[in-house]
Structure formats: structure tokens, C-alpha cells
Amino acid sequence: MSRQIRLTATVLTLMLLTSCASITSVPAGPLTLGEGHPATLDREWSDISTLTARTPQVRVLTIDGLALNRLYVAQGLKPGEGLTRPMAKDKPVPAYRKDMSPNEVIEFVSDSVAAQGYQRVETGELKPARLWGKDAVRIELTAKTETGLEVSGVAEAADIGGRLYLILYLAPSEHYFNTYLPSVEALFHSAA
């Protein structure tokens, strides 16, 4: 099936899901991630988790729709769990493993992005970060959609008590990534 037809099928599928899915507002303000980890959103997001193939511990937020910006908030992935569920039995998704090294966490994030259909995923230099007082890694990445639209991303991840906490933001490099990056940076800062 060509990518255009697949895109149309995706659109139609999303339209058909309308009757049974709900999208909720996540207003600006404090929120708690996982087991009591506080963070703050500086603006409203839409929670579109029910329309995605995410794992239960993952919330998927957007402002303009998944094609234009998406924020994955993994609230404690257990070993063996991925950011998303496998779309097919023969297409396993990358799974988190306990005691991953920082470079392995980068690889996990990069592979998780690729598993969602993004191509040419390239990660930048690993940078140190803090999440809830714990050592974390910060990763910046670029990728392309099937149509060739360039996408930028940034993520921060930390292993806390054997579970992976990950905040990953993806958006087209043209206009959308920079427009909402300050809000994502504010979220990182609130969770430092």
C-alpha cells in the first residue's frame, strides 16, 4: 500500500474512531506524573492518548494534532515495556530494559521514534539533565516523515526506581517545533 493511500487510511481510521474515542483538555497548571512526581504545564494541551497505540503508562498530548505536534509523557515504563504497543506481531517495538546505559537510553528513544514510522532518525550529542532530582539524559533529534517533512525532537529521560520516565516532544521543524518548544522547556524545568 503506498504511503499516500496509507495516509488516507489513517485519516479515515481516525475519523471512524470519533464515535468511541475521547479527547480531553489538560489545562495549564500542575500535574502529577507516575508515582507522585510533580510537573507544571504552562499552557493547555489536548490529551489524545485514547487515539494512539501507546502503552498505558504513556500519555500523548498535542496542541494542533498528532501530525503537527506530539508530546509523549512516559510515567514509569517497566522493563519490557515500550513507548507504544506493537502494531503487528511481527513488528515488535523497542522495549525498555533495566539498567540501560545513557547511550542505550538514547538508542531506545531513537528506535521508538523510528517505530512510529519516522525515517532517518538522527540523534545529537547526549547532554546531562535532571528529572525530579535524579540524573537524566537530554537528547535532541531530527527525523523525516514518509512524505519528507523534516521533524525535530527533544527528550529527557531518567531511570527512577527501575522505571523509565521520559518526556519526548516531536513536531515539524518548519514553524511548529520552535513555536511550542518554550512550553516543553518549561515542562522540563518544572520537573528538574
Binding site: 500500500m1 493511500i5 493547555e44 501530525a67 512524505t147 517533512l149
Partner: protein, 224 residues
């Protein structure tokens, strides 16, 4: 009931969205408008419900819509310049054309499809961003008109399945075609006008007549 369904099926339906009135800057007379050649992808819907791309249909529909759009814009008080997207996919202009596809599909899903994002509840507000000025500067244009078509037509086998299923009281989709048009302000990047036409049987875009009929409905009310 059957007659009502047939009557409804015989019409092309359209549904217009516009940016909030305060955001609209309707083109002033003699504005230059880029008309991006239509992007059309059609497929045959098989008896099993699979979609198989038909490049021959897509090419015909693309050419027919292009002619129909140019005819429809003749005599309007603006200057129009055709843009072949295949020759403009490099660099930032190419990224803007690709971004428009993503924005257009998002509009279909979230403004038409019934999925409503709380973050888009304040009205029709979609944009390519101010980077759209790059397209405007390259072509000395103030607006860009995009037309995108996607759809399927039932194969003979599919039609037989539909008839058989109908006799059993089961509804099976026959295939449908949707064409959307969007007008983008190349200064702000804002999508100022958007319309979707769902083709009726008299608007088969694989034929010149059908494409002309659909284009009349699609561009009806366009602020051009």
C-alpha cells in the same frame, strides 16, 4: 427512503471553514495567487476492501482538476501563477508544501472528522507559520491556493459484494472521493479559507465533466 438516499448520493456535498473574521485578509483586487497543481491520489477498492493505487486514474484526475480550476479562475480579479509541486520539493519551499499537506490532513481530521481538540476550540485557526513568506517572496505572491484529492472507486468485484451485502441488509462502503481546497495567506501563513467537496456520482474527477462539476462546488464562495 431509497429515493432520498439516491437523491443525496447524486449531489456533491461541500462544507466550508474560514478563519475567524478578524484573521481574514481577503485578497484585494489584483493580488497574485500561486495555484499549486492539484495533488491527487486515487485507488481501486477491491472486493476484499483493500486499496490498490491507480496512477492512471490519479493522472487523469490531476489533469482534469487542473484544467477545471484554471477555467474557474479565469476572469477573476487576481493574477494567478501555476506552481508545479514536483519541481519545488527542495529546500524550504518543499518543506512548506509538505507542511501544508500535514496541516490539510489535520484540518480534515480535527475540523471535519468529528474529533475535536480542546486546544483548537476557539474556531478555525490553522497555519503554516510565517515561514510561508518564503513561498510568497519566491513567487512575488500574496496567497497560495492548494487542491488535494484522495479517494477510491469500487472495482466490479466490490460492487458485486456491495449488492450482495445489501440484499442481506448489510451496508458495505462503495468507495468515495474527497477533494479539499485551501487558501493560504503567504504573509501570515494562515489558512484563511478551506472547503471540502465529497464527490457525488455526477462528479467523477476522472472525467473532464466530473472534475468541472466538482470544482464549481469546491471553489464556490472562495474569496478569490
Amino acid at each position: 427512503m431509497l429515493l432520498a438516499c439516491l437523491a443525496m448520493a447524486a449531489c456533491t456535498t461541500t462544507e466550508v471553514r474560514k478563519a475567524a473574521p478578524t484573521a481574514i485578509a481577503a485578497p484585494v483586487a489584483d493580488s497574485k495567487v500561486i495555484v499549486v497543481n492539484p495533488d491527487v491520489k486515487l485507488a481501486v477498492l477491491t472486493a476484499a476492501g483493500l486499496q490498490e493505487p491507480r496512477e492512471d486514474w490519479s493522472q487523469s484526475a490531476r489533469a482534469n482538476l487542473n484544467t477545471a480550476i484554471n477555467d474557474a479562475l479565469k476572469g477573476r480579479a487576481h493574477r494567478f501563477e501555476a506552481l508545479d509541486p514536483q519541481a519545488s520539493m527542495d529546500g524550504r519551499a518543499g518543506q512548506l508544501l509538505r507542511l501544508h499537506e500535514a496541516v490539510g490532513q489535520s484540518i480534515l481530521v480535527y475540523s471535519y472528522g468529528g474529533l475535536r481538540l480542546p486546544t483548537k476550540a476557539k474556531g478555525f485557526d490553522w497555519t503554516l507559520g510565517e515561514g510561508a513568506q518564503v513561498l510568497g517572496q519566491q513567487h512575488q505572491a500574496a496567497y497560495a491556493l492548494f487542491v488535494t484529492g484522495r479517494g477510491t472507486y469500487a472495482s466490479a468485484g466490490r460492487a458485486a459484494v456491495v449488492i450482495g451485502a445489501a440484499m442481506l441488509g448489510v451496508g458495505v462502503p462503495m468507495g468515495s472521493q474527497q477533494v479539499f481546497a485551501s487558501l493560504v495567506d503567504l504573509h501570515t501563513g494562515q489558512v484563511v479559507w478551506f472547503n471540502v467537496a465529497t464527490a457525488g456520482p455526477n462528479a467523477d474527477i476522472r472525467s473532464a465533466e466530473g472534475a468541472a462539476a466538482l470544482t464549481r462546488d469546491l471553489l464556490k464562495g472562495a474569496p478569490l
